[in-house]
């Protein structure tokens, strides 16, 4: 455990430093780099050999020199001091307070990489979260402890949607379920917090969230990490890990229900690619490193619930798909790790529909356990399947109508066509401030289903049709 300093920087390329003459530094060890002018930078050991260490900086390498730069290995991994006092505070992407407030006195120092949760210690997430957004509540039900990303594109309103979810999300109380939403408004039990990490987003976008939290008074129970587009790229590698370290502390040690918003994961992956390229690693698809799946998993898998602990971590990462291409490695690998995705669609957005969440391609894997009697209402899962199936058919018919003309459609197909339009304008579309209860959303669903002949409704139980379908 030598707290030794070395002045033997051999080469600097991109964010990487080769330090010679080093014999026994640990893999992943944190180092402090002092520039000739006295400035400090932070880095970690990526590879350690006899006589050589490769160090990755978390800050820009600008101004670094091979001569005169001192590297001190600190004998520990990157740890972050966490405390409940961090609520209401704003930090830089590398964890320094930037709101002018006092320094944080850490209650505990924790390795930012965390440890994997033992699958046998997890509790299966099954608490329905009402977001007040119909397309999410009914079709892509969010569950406490889930990781559900928003797949978006450049220029689509993903920030608004994420902010709306963070603002409106609540777990239904027993009373809500029994009274079917008639007595909404009762405060739920527990403590809540939002941890927000911005990676490479514009100043405006970061401001938008900050103001949004201020406006709703949520800032006092939020922790913000801001790495904007003009901040160093490599810092982004640490930002989500810092955020999740705080989130884990709040959730599993201080009993908070934490919602973590990470935006924009695309920028994170680009930073990863930059480091990988600098190391001259064999690239995988589109130049991203082959270990990107594993790397992303170590971020996304830090969501969930643990048996015997009160708190939970629900993750809503946001990523913009380059060219709206869902097969691009970033959304692709994300989709394989997360428990579904909320997909935003450009053509819906162009029609002026907010939120432009498209049922085709959106999915919540955990919804099965959070829908239905006791959780929401008995007809929920049938409604989900039926609305999606009808809309998919309606869209198909619409394409057909473009080629053949509407007049050549048969009666059933015309009904589907009408359904598709009504579904978009009445069900998907809602206000940015509109907070629909799940029961309101289901009511709209039944109203829409009445546009389709009853013989077509194979996914809903006929007893439910009799009970809930509005009588003509």
């Amino acid at each position: 455990m030598s707290l030794s300093a070395y002045k033997t920087v051999k080469s600097i390329s991109g964010p990487l430093l080769m330090v010679e003459g080093v014999n026994d530094v640990a893999y992943d060890e944190l180092c402090d780099i002092t520039l000739p002018n006295g400035e400090h930078r932070v880095g970690k050991v990526l590879e350690s050999r006899k006589g050589l260490a490769i160090v990755q900086l978390f800050e820009p390498s600008q101004g670094l020199k091979t001569e005169g730069t001192t590297v001190r290995f600190l004998g520990r991994t990157f740890q972050f001091g966490v405390s409940e006092d961090m609520l209401g505070r704003i930090f830089s992407g590398s964890g320094e307070p930037i709101d002018g407030g006092p320094k944080i006195l850490p209650e505990k120092r924790v390795d930012i990489n965390g440890y994997p949760i033992n699958p046998a210690s997890r509790e299966f997430p099954d608490d329905f979260i009402q977001t007040g957004i119909s397309t999410i509540d009914v079709l892509n039900t969010l569950v406490r402890g889930q990781k559900l990303p928003i797949f978006s594109g450049a220029g689509l309103p993903h920030s608004k949607l994420a902010a709306q979810i963070a603002r409106q999300a609540r777990v239904l109380t027993k009373k809500d379920v029994e009274s079917q939403g008639a007595e909404v408004g009762e405060e739920e039990d527990g403590k809540f917090a939002v941890v927000f990490a911005a990676m490479g987003v514009t100043f405006e976008e970061a401001q938008f969230f900050q103001q949004e939290f201020e406006k709703t008074g949520a800032l006092t129970r939020a922790v913000l990490f801001l790495n904007t587009a003009d901040n160093p790229v490599v810092e982004r590698i640490a930002t989500p890990r810092l955020a999740l370290t705080v989130a884990e502390y709040l959730a599993y040690e201080k009993d908070y229900h934490v919602t973590v918003i990470l935006t924009d994961m695309t920028n994170y992956c680009e930073a990863l690619r930059e480091v990988s390229a600098a190391r001259k690693e064999v690239p995988g698809r589109r130049g991203y490193p082959g270990y990107m799946y594993t790397d992303l998993a170590t971020i996304y898998e830090r969501a969930g619930r643990i048996r015997g602990r009160k708190g939970s971590i629900t993750q809503i990462p946001i990523l913009t798909m380059p060219e709206d291409d869902v097969t691009h490695p970033i959304p692709d690998l994300t989709g394989y790790i997360t428990e579904g995705q909320i997909r935003q669609d450009r053509s819906l957005h162009q029609k002026g529909i907010y939120p432009p969440v498209i049922p085709m391609g959106s999915l919540s894997r955990l919804k099965g356990k959070a829908q239905g009697e006791g959780k929401t209402r008995e007809d929920h899962s049938g409604m989900d399947a039926q609305l999606t199936a009808c809309y998919a058919r309606g869209v198909e018919v619409r394409e057909l109508a473009v080629i053949l003309g509407e007049s050549s459609l048969n009666e059933t197909d015309k009904a589907y066509l009408a359904f598709a339009s009504a579904f978009e304008t009445e069900f998907i579309k809602q206000g940015e401030q509109e907070n629909r209860s799940i029961y309101d959303s289901l009511r709209i669903g039944w109203k829409l289903l009445s546009l389709v002949p009853r013989s077509e409704l194979k996914r809903v139980k006929s007893a439910h049709i009799d009970k809930y379908m509005p009588k003509k």
Binding site: F124, L363, N410
Partner: protein, 587 residues
Amino acid sequence: MSATIIKVAGPLVVASGMRQAKMYEVVRVAKERLVGEVIELHGDTASIQVYEETSGVRPGEPVELTGQTLSVDLAPGLLTSIFDGIQRPLEQIEEKAGSPFISRGIDVPGLNRKTLWDFRPSVSVGTAVSAGDVLGTVQETTLIEHRVMVPPNMEGVVHSIESGKKTIEDVIAMITTADGKNVPVTMLQKWPIRIARPVKGKLVSTEILATGMRILDTLFPMAKGGAGAIPGPFGAGKTVTQQSLAKYCNAQVIIYIGCGERGNEMTEVLTEFPHLIDPNSGEPLMKRTVLIANTSNMPVAAREASVYTGITIAEYYRDMGYDVALMADSTSRWAEAMREMSGRLEEMPGEEGYPAYLGSRTAGFYERAGSVSCLGAGDRKGSLSVIGAISPPGGDFSEPVTQNTLRVTKVFWALDARLAYKRHFPAINWLQSYTLYAENLSATFGRTIAEDFMKNRERALTILQQENKLEEIVRLVGTDSLSPKEQMILETARMIREDFLFQNAYDPVDAYTSIKKQYRILRAIFRFADAAVPVIEQEDFEFQKLRSLPIKDEIAKAHLYPETEIQKFDTLETMIDESVRSLMITA
């Protein structure tokens, strides 16, 4: 010179002073004694893949040789357990770590050494025994009787054998070998995971691996001992399909490997299986299941080992004479783990950065499946079916993992995102999927289900293909231009899709359908199609009338008829005849 570390880069550690090491030997790395395996040797330096997080490990720390290759414990106690990729029980890890997080350097044995099992000998003193012979049995769970076998490579005469409560390390028998030595035998066997367990010979299987899923059993059936692949993009339902298979397939022992997948999914299996009842036996599913969970955020090298750990345990139960099914979700993550290690070893990459040996490793894994004649007396037959999920990037089946797998598997269940978008589940594409077992199984279907089972199956496949062609025409010119006969094909195809292939894995009745019932549903649909032939041939017949017949709703409900009331199908068929006949315009 003692072995010391000279380089650390992620899961790869290089050590010098390793002249004594052999390939695939297990070593203990650094002061924390992390588990690693030698994967490359150059003079006296060895590359080691480490199965635990290497953060904090530094050059100069010691490496300890163990002389053993990576092996698993095989003995009673495997069933109902959940292990990580190198067979450490996750529950004990939690206990020992005292935390819900997996920390490092935890040393727990694969199987509990203290549990007492009631051993009942089935051979007597003086019997000549050889490898694979059953020495005695232990009731491992209410479902599975564990057969304690003579370990491979051993032969001799039983010198003594004891019944009663024993731990897995207690000596249960002494065997006098040919050279006159008395060798103690325990219930515990160790077997290296990368070597297939020996068998007498492989057999061609004619038995059906019934899964309760209609599209699989009827259209693309798999044989016991077969190998199959389920590729599909995310969200298409790979995991739900794998879990359904684990729940309802008629194998006696299930090995479920969560390889580089989601933590919550493993938890779901863990919380659900103890409560789910096996439709074939009436007992909780967990009693026949071994789970292996190496989630995506757990160390990547252990992910590489997890499929071998799983298949070795599976082979062990196969050797007892059981039908075993192994699900690996997902083999793409296994291949990626290989790629990652290969990249760190700076090997020359093959396609898409995967190592050049991807194909041979994949083939080696799937070839461990099969229907076999087991070692030992008594002519036991066992089978090991392997079903691997594949997660192709972007859902593109031309990528190396899918292609290499298709070369060695005989069943291909292609998942289709477009079907999933329409909420058609299971989202298995009936035009792309195939099975090469149909011929082998044809006689079995004919004998156990119905003479015309295979005929109906082919008819269904043909109609679905015709539908695909006709839809292209419809897209250009509309439905009206089709002849009544063609419209009937479309209508029948639609019924097959919606009333037969569509299956809700979350509905308690719908989730499992016996093959007999599957046959009756399909027959009812064809009954309708056949009855309609004279009706639609009438001049100026309005097709809409046939489409809106109420009997069609009844057919749509047929999949919910309880298994115990198969006779309801007889009534249904009579009703179909009457109802369709009512459309005949009697002169």
